[in-house]
Amino acid sequence: MTRTITIDGVTRIEGHAKITIHLDESGKVCDAQFHVTQFRGFEKFVEGRPLTEMPGIMARICGICPVSHLMAAAKACDDILAVDIPPTADKLRRIMNLAQMVQSHALSFFHLSSPDLLFGMDGDPLRRNIFGLIREHPDFARDGILLRKFGQDVIALLGGKKIHPAWVVPGGVNAPLTEDKRDAILKEIPAAMARVNRALDYFHQVENRYPAEVDAFANFPTHFAGLVNPEGLLEHYDGAMKFVDHQGFPIAELGRNDQRHYGALIGEAVEKYSYLKFPYFKPQGYPAGIYRVGPLARLIVAERCGTVNADKELGVFRTRLGRAPQSSFHYHWARLIEILYGIEMIQRLLQFPDILNTHIRSRARPNRLEGVGISEAPRGTLIHHYKIDENGLIRWANLIIATGHNNLAMNLGVRQVAERFVDAEHLSEGMLNRVEAVIRCFDPCLSCSTHALGQMPLRIELCRADGEVCDVLQRD
């Protein structure tokens, strides 16, 4: 008798999804799929809208990480205007993008994943949550809340509000940074640094408790992709998109000025069971061209970070795990290193003498009918591609979202962890939590990736060979 276990939907991620695990007649896992079950279709309904509205509209894809879409949309518009934005605007956009990464990584690590790490994958679910964390590790929990607030406050100071700031515009930004706001951010840097350093100390204590999870959480060879700057260093805003193989050797690069040709390297496949597209490395075809993006991929692709403390921590990371660790469990550590980097880099950018300059926007009419913007969202590389008509109205749009790049890897990861941990005869909560936890390593944002909205409950179905559901586990 073959059976299917369905986890519908997966918890502690953003958006709606379910997982099905198919069992063969001997009760062993024979297949697993990660289904994204929501749909919104931003690419379609922006058709006919003026180009200048795109950053504002695209930021609405997600109420949690609007800044990333704001950046990619504005860069695609810059490309259509054919302008180089003023250097001060470039730095200000970078600061906001890094602040977004800090707040997003803080939420992912502290609120969503650390309960598993600190209480164990088999820990009591009544305890294994944010309130359990506050009760038993209060300083750690408060650090997470305050780190996220740091990132949100930087966004609000720059953009006027935390959610959907309209400050990033085609050609630059629409208001300069004032001295008092700069000083307000700089004042918070030491405390933010102390918080992430304490989190790293915590992480070092618990990370080696999970050898089985390290071994089975999407631990297989894939390519990796991410932006790098001209020196090959970690980059989140603007640079070449670099692909490396599973050993970290470069295999392809999309230069900063070649980004409109991303289609030569990235194909997009569709599967019937999910609304989330399956991007793949085109030279290898589908599905062999599997690659990963996001914090772990960025640290593998980059030669180094380029800031003192993040590079020091990256050295520890590489000494322990090698140059290109394959287990997606290590996304957690990579996320903390990127928080450290983000805080250091925000400080560096704020100390540039021209950061208060008032020349912050280049103005032009559309000079091209097509533009591409690529930046790094917290979860990975984000691509916005627009085509306009002669009147400046959008006639076609394509978005490739970080969570989409990781879709193939998430599906294989679910299968791997199910094969290792799921015993169909004795289903346990901890077993199923591991299946979800491998997804949480990637911190998928399904609102972005399908451009839909929602939160994620959990449902698991166990089906016989004939497809009949014989058991269900549901969380709301």
Binding site: R60, H111, N129, A141, I145, H164, E188, A191
Partner: protein
């Protein structure tokens, strides 16, 4: 240590009003609309004692803003209430087995503020019944009227609290006094 740290960095205010909802989904934007209205009507002497926040949804770090306050009013839209009606109730903390993700409720944020930062504010959630949550940046007329009414009521509560008077905001009168009379 943390409460002192927070109190040192955030200017203490007596009352925090948080209006949340999606301003592109018609009446779901009622919460932010109340904040906008309050911003326009609060005189400076009261504004110094109040923090007004508008957001798309409640997020965990709001616990930090809540921590130093004496009173919190959450303002939300509700599909469960008749269109244009207003309901005000004390917030019940929610914790325990809550699986908190990217989305929070007044109860979870309040519980987080208490458990992480030792905060014990009085808290209420005021909800306005929606007529439409279709794609629009305009409120329906009945909800727009309710927004105006709730803003005046919250204004009245803030004014009374600022004079040291007891006022239970859940006691919503049929009509609010004119602003100049407050």
């Amino acid at each position: 240590m943390y409460c002192n740290e927070i109190n040192a960095t955030i200017p203490p205010v007596e009352t925090l009003v948080i209006g949340y909802g999606n301003t592109l989904r018609a009446d779901d934007g009622a919460g932010p609309a109340v904040i906008e209205k309050l911003t326009s009507i609060l005189p400076r002497r009261l504004a110094q004692k109040v923090q007004l926040l508008s957001c798309g949804q409640l997020t965990p770090e709001l616990a930090v803003d809540i921590a130093p306050c004496q009173r919190i009013i959450f303002i939300d839209a509700s599909m469960a209430l008749p269109a244009g009606s207003i309901s005000i109730n004390p917030v019940q903390e929610e914790c325990g087995a809550v699986l908190m993700g990217h989305y929070s409720t007044p109860g979870t944020v309040l519980a987080m503020a208490r458990s992480a930062f030792g905060a014990h504010p009085h808290a209420w959630v005021a909800a306005i019944g929606c007529q439409s949550v279709e794609i629009s940046d305009k409120l329906t007329p009945r909800v727009a009227t309710a927004v105006d009414r709730l803003a005046r009521h919250v204004y009245h509560a803030i004014a009374r609290w600022s004079k040291g008077q007891t006022f239970l905001p859940e006691m919503l009168p049929n009509s609010e006094p004119a602003l100049k009379a407050i």
